[in-house]
Structure formats: C-alpha cells, structure tokens
C-alpha cells in the first residue's frame, strides 16, 4: 500500500486557496519586468553556478535535465526542446533517504542544502511545482524533506513562444504564473518576469522594462475540453483506452505532478539493527499500489487504475483545490507506448447520447 500525502485532513486545511500565492506575495509594488540582453544570459547562468548548483535541459539523444557543472557547459543548455523527465526529480527524487538508524540512534536525513537553480523550465513544469506545493507544503503537515529542497530551489522558466510539439495542450489548462523568474524571448533580448524576492535578488542590477507588459501564456493547438468527468465514471468510457494500456507506468513516472510514494527499509547485512528508511516514487498504475495486507487489491484491474489516474488529474484534485492537477505537458501521451490519448478520448468519446 502506498502513501499519498493528500489526506482528507490536509486537503481541508487550505480551503481551496492555492499555497503558491505565497510565492508571488512578496512583490511589494516593485517593477516586475527586467530586460536581459541575450549576451548577458550566459554570464547570468555562470553566476548561478558560483552561487550553487545549476540544472538545465541538455539535448543529446533526448532532452534531459542535468547538472551543468563547468562554465563552458552552459553553452550546451537547450532552448528548443521538451525535457523527457520533468524537473520534479530535484524536489521528489525517485528514491531518497528519510532517516538512518545507527547503533540504536535515529538520525533524520533532512540536510542543509546548497542553493539549486533550475533553468529553462517550461510553463507546464513550473505549474507542476505549484501543484506539488499544495500537497507537500500543507500548512499543517508540511513535508520536511520536500520543504528543504523547495526552499533551496530557484526556478527560472523559459516561456514557450511556439508550442513544442503536437502533444502539448497546456494552452487549454488553467496555467498560473508560478516561478521565480520567467524568460520571455523578445528577439534581441529576454523580458524577465519577476515573481519572487528570490528571483529579484538575481536580476536586481538589470534595467527595468519600460513597457507595462506581461508575457503571454503559451497557446497550443491541442486543447482539452474542460468538461466534468463524474458523468463518465462507468467502465465503458474507459474500456477502449484500457485495451491499449500495457501497464508500463511511463505516464505516471514522467508526469510532472505525480507525487505518490512508497516507504521501504534498507538494512545493513552486517548489523541488521542498522539501516535506512527510503521514500521511493510509486505509481497508481502498479497492481501493488493498492494491494494491502492479506492480498486484497482496492483497484485490482488495469482499467480501474487508468481511470483513477485520469480522474485524479482532472477531477479529484480540482474538487479539492479548484484547479486541475494536469498542466498539459503532454508527456503521458507523447511517451505512452500505445499513444493512448485521454484528451482525444474525453473530447470525442465522452459524450452522452
């Protein structure tokens, strides 16, 4: 049985107010726009490397977020692609140590982290961070492991002037301006949209933008019809897609907002009273996810699990937080072995006669 941190109690604690409003609340009437000449971008990234760790997308056989360790490697940063794996891995690693036990003593693993700067993050993935914040930074039960990483992280977005490919549908989702800084390409320069003190501290020396301008939200040709899904809960609506699902869990593994985890112990063989407790990213598409002691499985069929994922993304989360949990990044369709397209299914097939 896996754990997801959105207990009923924690869901109620917020009264539907997105926590990320905190992120944008420190503006205090400052100018929000700065202008960054394109030749100033490399020095800016190199300055970030001196302050902490720099992570950015790099294209090789695919676009992947990775650490940019040397000043020269800044040239390899990608500005055109969509990263395969979302940058959530810097907040929710696939596996992380929660605590260790040595000689009978428990030691929590929440460490003081160096600053990390994640740059060229797309609007979909920036929004995903806000969605994760709602869950992991619940005011009553904030997650200390997430908190430590989140506090140490600055997000610098890169606005999509054109849609990246035919799978993107963020244009139809309820996108928020959630980031520390956003780079918007104006041709010769970037308009830098500043949304936090953390962000402002990095660009204070740059000239203010003269015009009152807000970078437009990305537009996509693929759009999701925002209809409610409760009338379409019955198995028959999901059966067609389910036939095509091979159960590989790429959709959840690559989703920028999938956050569920399992907890495991890893013991030392030489002293079985010592070891560590790990949090491991899990998937609601796994048959093990809802299997409990005694062998009962609450969602025993693949169809139930597929429906649960889509309902959670588009309906359950919205019922609690008044926004969709899906940011339209398109990864679950783009990287699905069978190209199962829930957007197409909902748009075209979820229609009552």
């Amino acid at each position: 049985m896996s754990v997801s941190p959105c207990s009923a109690q924690s869901l109620l604690a917020h009264e539907g107010k997105p926590l990320n409003s905190v992120m944008a609340s420190d503006r205090r009437g400052e100018r929000l726009g700065k202008i960054l000449r394109k030749d100033q971008l490399k020095p800016l990234f190199q300055a970030l490397q001196r302050k902490g760790s720099l992570y950015a997308p790099v294209k090789t056989d695919m676009v992947r977020f990775q650490e940019i360790t040397t000043p020269e490697d800044v040239d390899a940063i990608d500005f055109s692609g969509h990263a395969f794996f979302p940058p959530k891995k810097y907040l929710l690693p696939n596996e992380e140590e929660l605590f260790a036990i040595r000689e009978g003593e428990l030691r929590e693993t929440v460490a003081e982290l160096d600053q990390q700067f994640i740059v060229n993050v797309r609007m979909c993935d920036l929004n995903a961070v806000g969605i994760l914040d709602n869950l992991y930074l619940d005011p009553e039960y904030p997650d200390p492991y997430y908190r430590a990483k989140r506090d140490a992280t600055t997000f610098i977005g890169l606005n999509c002037v054109h849609e990246l490919d035919e799978y993107c549908f963020c244009g139809s989702m309820d996108l928020q301006r959630e980031y520390d800084l956003l780079l918007h390409d104006l041709g010769e320069a970037y308009y830098v949209d500043v949304r936090s003190d953390k962000g402002m501290a990095l660009v204070e020396g740059l000239p203010d933008a003269e015009d009152d301008f807000t970078p437009p939200l990305p537009r996509t040709s693929k759009v999701l019809d925002p209809k409610g899904l409760w009338p379409f809960y019955a198995d028959k609506w999901w059966a067609g897609d389910n036939e095509l699902c091979v159960g590989c869990q790429r959709c959840t593994t690559l989703c920028p907002t999938c956050f569920c985890f399992d907890v495991k112990d890893d013991l030392d063989l030489d002293d079985l009273s010592s070891g560590k407790r790990l949090r491991v990213i899990d998937s609601c598409h796994s048959p093990d996810f809802t299997r409990v002691a005694g062998g009962h499985d609450f969602r025993a069929s693949r169809l139930q699990r597929y429906r649960h994922r889509v309902m959670h993304k588009l309906q359950y989360y919205k019922d609690e937080f008044k926004r969709s949990m899906c940011t339209g990044c398109g990864r679950c369709i783009r990287y699905c072995h069978s190209k199962i397209d829930f957007v197409k299914t909902i748009n075209e097939e979820f229609v009552h006669e």
Binding site: D61, M62, R64, F84, F85, N94, E243, L244, C245, V246, G247, C248, Q249, R250, T253, L254, K264, D265, D266, L267, L269, D270, L272, I281, S283, S286, P287, D288, R302, Y335, H337, S338
Partner: protein
C-alpha cells in the same frame, strides 16, 4: 534464549540449470562474509565439502528446473525439510530455456541432443517435461532472473533475517528504464520486451542499448496482445516475437494466453 539467537539454517541447492544463480550469491563479494556471518550455511554443495543434505532448513534456495525424475525427487525432499523454499532464478521460476522443449516434440529433441543414447535415459535421468518448481511443490518466494540480480537476493536475505515479509519487485522493466531516463527502444522502432517483463534489473539491457529479451519472465498483468502489436508495428516478425516469448518463460506466457504453441514451428 539460545533458540532466539540461533542463526537461520540456509541451504543452496541445485537441479537442472547452469548453476549461475548460486554463483550470483557467492559473487556478492564484499558482503559475502557478512552473509556467512549472519546465517548458518548448512548445505551449499558447490562451495562446501561437507553438506547437511537431510535438513531441516529455515530457508532453502533452489536453482534449476525440474527436468528429470532425479530433480523431482530432490525437490520434494528439500521441500519437506524446509520452512521456506525460494525458487532462485528463471529456471526455477519459469523453466527458462530448457522449457522451450515443451513446445516441441520431446523425442525429436532428445534424439537431437543425445543421439542413439536417447533411448537409454532411464531411472533418475528419465526426462520429465521441463517445469518450474511451483508445478510440483509449494514455493514461498520466487526471485526470477537469468541470473537473478545480486541486489534482489541481498534484499530478500536482509528482509528475511529481520523477520519481515520479503517483498519481490513486480513492476515491468519500463519503470526502471524510464526512471533512468533511457531513450525508449520501442519508441525508436526497435525490439524490446520491456512492457511484458518483470524488472528488478534496473533496465540493465536497455541501459546499454539492447532490447530486453525477457529473462525475468512476465509481469502478472502482461498485456500480451497489445505488446505484440507494438512489436509488429516496429517490423518485428511474429515468429521472432513468439520465440522471445518462449525463450525464458514459454509456459507462463502460454498460461497468460499467448498463442505461442501454434506459431513457432519445430526444430
């Protein structure tokens, strides 16, 4: 009190197979001494001169498939004297490559392998259909793999030693492959059995650009028809796909409904 401190009696036994699974245990290198310190290894004929063949054992690891009468007698004896019996490796869990024989005329295979001696396979050497252990006895845990992964064996041992209910990884290869951010071979139009096959290998083969060949056997909910469609769309001939399905775990795929009996011709 002494009972409480008694180290568990472990046996590592072998029937028809290449013995590579027990080698994996002995190759845990820096942790082998920890392992030998934590258990009482009472029977391990490959590495020990004196072995307790009569048990009882707390845990008995058995590698290999039941392929002749002697295998079956041994297996039944070990089962009777073990509290926990672990099928170690894909021979023990799925009959592995010797299981391919199940899809061909046994006599033709025997004659091809043993020539004129085929008629003399009698007594303990008399062949039975190559089968996984659980076709014959109750198996408590299965750790598949050809060979099984060192980390899975160690994890099992550690969980058992601390009184936990050992958990065996059940997810398809794609999960670890995706977490490692490996470019998908299927997406690239290549051949990979990943969606059907139990991981635990941390996507060893796709990680070096080779498609999964299926050595861990199928996941419980393998979607065989759709995966075959994906492979066919990549230009993999159906005959080759079915050979892959037969290769390590033909009987299991057969039970899951893969139509592999009629698709592959005899030798």
């Amino acid at each position: 009190m002494t009972e409480e401190k008694r180290k568990p009696r472990i046996a590592i036994h072998s029937i028809t197979g290449c013995a590579g699974c027990q080698l994996t245990i002995y190759f845990i290198k820096d942790r082998l001494l920890d392992f030998l310190g934590a258990v009482d290894l009472v029977a391990a004929p490959m590495i020990k001169g004196k072995n307790d063949d009569d048990g009882p054992y707390d845990v008995c690891f058995v590698e290999g498939s039941v392929s002749n009468r002697r295998d079956l007698e041994h297996l039944k004896k070990w089962r009777a004297q073990s509290k926990v019996l672990v099928a170690l490796g894909t021979c023990a869990t799925h009959a592995n490559v010797q299981g391919i024989k199940n899809f061909h005329d046994a006599r033709t295979v025997h004659e091809r392998v043993y020539g004129q001696e085929a008629a003399n396979l009698e007594g303990g050497s008399a062949p039975v259909a190559p089968t996984p252990l659980d076709e014959h006895v109750k198996v408590d845990y299965k750790i598949s793999g050809c060979p099984p992964e060192e980390v899975e064996i160690l994890k099992f041992i550690k969980e058992f030693l601390t009184g936990m209910h050992p958990r065996i990884y059940h997810e398809p290869v794609c999960v670890e492959c995706t977490k490692r951010e490996i470019r998908c071979l299927l997406e690239d139009g290549k051949e990979c059995m990943g969606p059907l096959i139990r991981g635990g290998c941390n996507a060893l083969c796709p990680g070096v650009g080779h498609g999964c060949t299926g050595c861990h056997g199928p996941i419980e909910e393998a979607n065989i028809p759709q995966t075959i469609e994906l492979l066919k769309a990549n230009g993999v001939p159906l005959k080759l796909i079915n050979q892959h399905l037969q290769k390590y775990a033909g009987l299991a795929f057969d039970k899951l409904g893969a139509a592999i009996r009629k698709e592959v011709e005899g030798p």
